[in-house]
């Protein structure tokens, strides 16, 4: 028995290490390409968004895969993180000229803001299950978007002015600065995000999520997912563990938002709509629910794919949709799995057995 447990532990440890190794190897390859001048501008521009989508996907996997709850409002947490951090960075542009400190604080603030909203939303919402939870998180995602849209916030010598009407009713004095401009969002956020920071954040996210999954708390969360009644009967606090997963996930989505916001100089709330939540869910589902590595790969592939298909011009989005369907089928339909095993199984005999 103990031998088996030891074996399993070793397996998860190697599994986790492989994830770190993949990320670090990808980073190294990109760096080499960069230094030898082989990196196209397109790929270079995609690096940071890809990092933030990886973080988003991994964090959503914590809720969907590990905690077993379907959340359709994840973009909402990302937008809270994005706006909170961009707001901080823009208002502290002169006060903190030291970029690493300002950007670091901005990320922490983005994560904290999203985490707090995660708790606030989680408390009522996690009383629901299944479809009901999905619908309510969807609604919360839209509410967050609309709330950000109505605020106008500016700063001048007298402090912060807030209005819900328009820019002029802020009555800023000469030299005042509008930070959040209603539906037009925040523009002029400093472009502090670099690929190195992105990769570090991905590694930190992996560290947090993988350690949580393999901890006592993580096992409690998974036991609630697998059998709620059995988990309750042995005295686990269901709400506490679910809220834990939900909050950590929200905070990490906030980190993704902070990274995203510091890569683009114009940020609008309408970007973080229902479509983005669904996209994040697609990352998780395509990569395999509960599989962290799958989420990473799916996020990379699905972010790069529409850009790779640009040469198709008008048919781009159509082909993208078709490719998505084909990938889903090839990866997850039972028949495809069977076929693959039959024809390719012999090459992967050993691994195939292990995988089962």
């Amino acid at each position: 028995m103990t031998v088996m447990i030891e074996k399993m532990k070793k397996k998860t440890r190697t599994n986790n290490l492989i994830n770190y190794a993949i990320v670090i190897a990808a980073f190294a390859v990109i760096q080499v390409m960069k230094s030898t001048g082989n990196l196209s501008s397109l790929l270079n521009g995609l690096l940071i968004p890809v990092c933030s989508y990886i973080i988003l996907a991994v964090s959503l996997n914590l809720v969907v895969g590990i905690s077993g709850e379907l959340s359709l409002g994840h973009a909402g947490f990302m937008s809270v993180g994005a706006f909170a951090s961009a707001f901080f960075s823009k208002s502290m542009l002169d006060a903190i000229p030291f970029v690493p400190l300002r950007f670091g604080l901005a990320i922490v603030i983005g994560a904290a803001a999203a985490g707090v909203i995660g708790v606030l939303i989680g408390i009522p919402v996690l009383r629901l299950r299944g479809d009901y939870l999905a619908i309510v998180t969807l609604a919360f995602g839209e509410i967050i978007k609309n709330v950000i849209t109505i605020f106008y916030i500016g700063i001048d010598g007298n402090g912060i002015h807030v209005s819900m009407k328009d820019k002029m009713s802020l009555h800023l004095e000469e030299g005042g600065n509008v930070i959040l401009n209603g539906p037009q969002g925040i523009s002029g956020t400093p472009k502090n995000a670099t690929f190195l920071v992105g990769v570090l954040l991905v590694l930190i996210t992996l560290f947090i999520v993988q350690n949580l999954i393999n901890s006592r708390d993580g096992r409690a969360i998974m036991s609630i997912r697998d059998n709620r009644i059995a988990a309750e009967s042995i005295g686990l606090n269901v709400t506490k563990y679910k809220l834990m997963a939900f909050t950590v996930s929200a905070a990490l989505a906030g980190v993704a938002g902070a990274l995203y916001a510091h890569n683009l100089s114009s940020l609008v709330a309408s970007k973080f709509d229902f479509n983005l939540s669904i996209l994040a869910l697609v990352f998780v589902v395509l990569g395999g629910i509960g599989s962290i590595r799958g989420s990473i790969i799916a996020a990379v592939v699905l972010t790069a794919l529409p850009e790779m298909l640009r040469f198709l011009s008008d048919y781009r989005m159509l082909i993208y949709a078709i490719v998505l369907i084909v990938m889903m089928l090839l990866n997850w339909s039972p028949k495809a799995l069977e076929l693959r095993e039959r024809y390719l199984g012999r090459f992967f005999k050993k691994t195939a057995k292990e995988g089962k």
Binding site: L42, V300, A304, E307, L344
Partner: protein, 384 residues
């Protein structure tokens, strides 16, 4: 089995990275490479298609007439879905293609993000229709506008109403608060209105997410007793406003801006509802001059609709670039950065007469041209 999935997905990812690596082979045929970015799909596609189709048309004309400084011009249009992130991706794609100057982007929010990139790379951009002052600010001298700036339109509209319509005392404004263009005009309009004889009695807003039902806003304008309603937004929404106001039997003077141009071409719209609508616009598809007539005929033949101001602005962009490149004596073998320096120098010196009037540019990268007041009579625009 799971491992196999991983292996295939890894292989796919690797293949993609490899395809990204493939740097386009430099085919040296000495042609100017102009990139274009705009929303070609999605909700704002109508604007992007309109502008970039007209750019393509102008490029074809220029090539047929012998090109610029004797060199042909290549044009490559990329889709940004009206999204800042996608727009930057499109910009990077064009850079890989070898873009030397950019016509774009068409819409404002993505344009701000792309303008920062242009300033970073020292690449010259001329936007046909991103009219917010934030665009030129973000571009830091690299991004010029061919359209009116929003403030100029707002101020001009308020002055026009104040000076030419003494009978109007109560004005209501309805604007799109999620759109930089609409909000920018609104802000300047209200500012200038204080100096004019009329009073702004009601302000109503809508956003991109709520642009199909305006009954509440129309009711509020009615209740405020507005004699004129100012509609600083695009014609697709304006056509709905006019239709719903008609249902409520509300008939004030409607006053629009250049975005209103195109309203007569909206499918299923009863043009009699637009009777008496006034707008300030630099371009009217029904104008009598030869250039406009030829442009409209060719555009209709090629693309099957009447061109809007977006198309006219896109078309003029190419001729403005041509004039500036000729002024600077630029050649395609110059780097994008050298061309940008040459164009920045040339743009403040040139004067271009296009479909949207005679244009000059100031050192803030803004255009100066005169808007024309037109009114819709019997389903056509006539000068007021």
């Amino acid at each position: 089995m799971k491992k196999f999935t991983k292996v295939t997905s890894m292989a796919m990812a690797a293949a993609m990275v490899a395809s990204m690596l493939a740097v386009p082979a430099a085919a040296e045929e000495a042609a100017f490479k102009i990139g274009g970015i705009g929303p070609l799909t999605g909700a704002a596609a109508i604007y992007g298609n309109s502008a970039l189709n007209a750019v393509q048309m102008a490029v074809d004309e220029v090539n047929a007439a012998g090109g610029i400084n004797g060199y042909q011009v290549e044009f490559n249009a990329q889709d940004d879905e009206h999204d800042a992130e996608k727009s930057v991706n499109a910009y990077n794609t064009l850079k890989d293609w070898g873009m030397q100057m950019l016509v774009g982007t068409v819409t404002t929010t993505p344009c701000i993000a792309v303008a920062y990139e242009c300033a970073n790379d020292n690449l010259f951009a001329l936007t046909p229709s991103a009219s917010s002052p934030e665009v030129t600010a973000a571009g830091a001298g690299n991004v010029y506008q061919l359209c009116f700036t929003d403030p100029a339109q707002g101020t001009a509209s308020a002055q026009y109403i104040g000076e030419n319509m003494p009978e109007i005392t109560k004005v209501a404004v309805l604007y799109n608060s999620s759109d930089a263009y609409s909000t920018g005009i609104y802000e300047k309009f209200v500012e200038e209105a204080e100096a004019q004889a009329f009073e702004v009695v009601e302000t109503q807003t809508f956003t991109e997410d709520s642009n199909t039902d305006f009954s509440a806003q129309i009711q509020a304008c009615m209740d405020a007793g507005a004699e004129l309603v100012f509609l600083p937004f695009y014609y697709t929404e304006a056509s709905i406003v006019l239709k719903q106001a008609n249902e409520k039997e509300f008939a004030p003077v409607w006053f629009g801006v250049d975005g209103m141009d195109g309203i007569l071409g909206v499918e299923g719209f009863d043009t009699s509802l637009a009777e008496g609508v006034m707008l300030l616009t630099p371009f009217a598809a029904d104008a009598d001059d030869e250039a406009t007539k030829a442009f409209v005929a060719e555009f209709e033949e090629k693309f099957g609709d009447t061109p809007t101001q977006f198309a006219a602005d896109g078309y003029d962009c190419v001729y403005a670039l041509k004039a500036a490149l000729e002024e600077a004596g630029a050649t395609p073998d110059m780097s994008a950065s050298d061309i940008a320096d040459a164009l920045k120098d040339a743009f403040t010196k040139i004067e271009v007469t296009g479909l949207t009037g005679t244009m000059t540019w100031n050192e803030n990268c803004e255009v100066s041209k005169t808007p024309q007041a037109v009114v819709i009579k019997d389903g056509a625009y006539v000068a007021y």
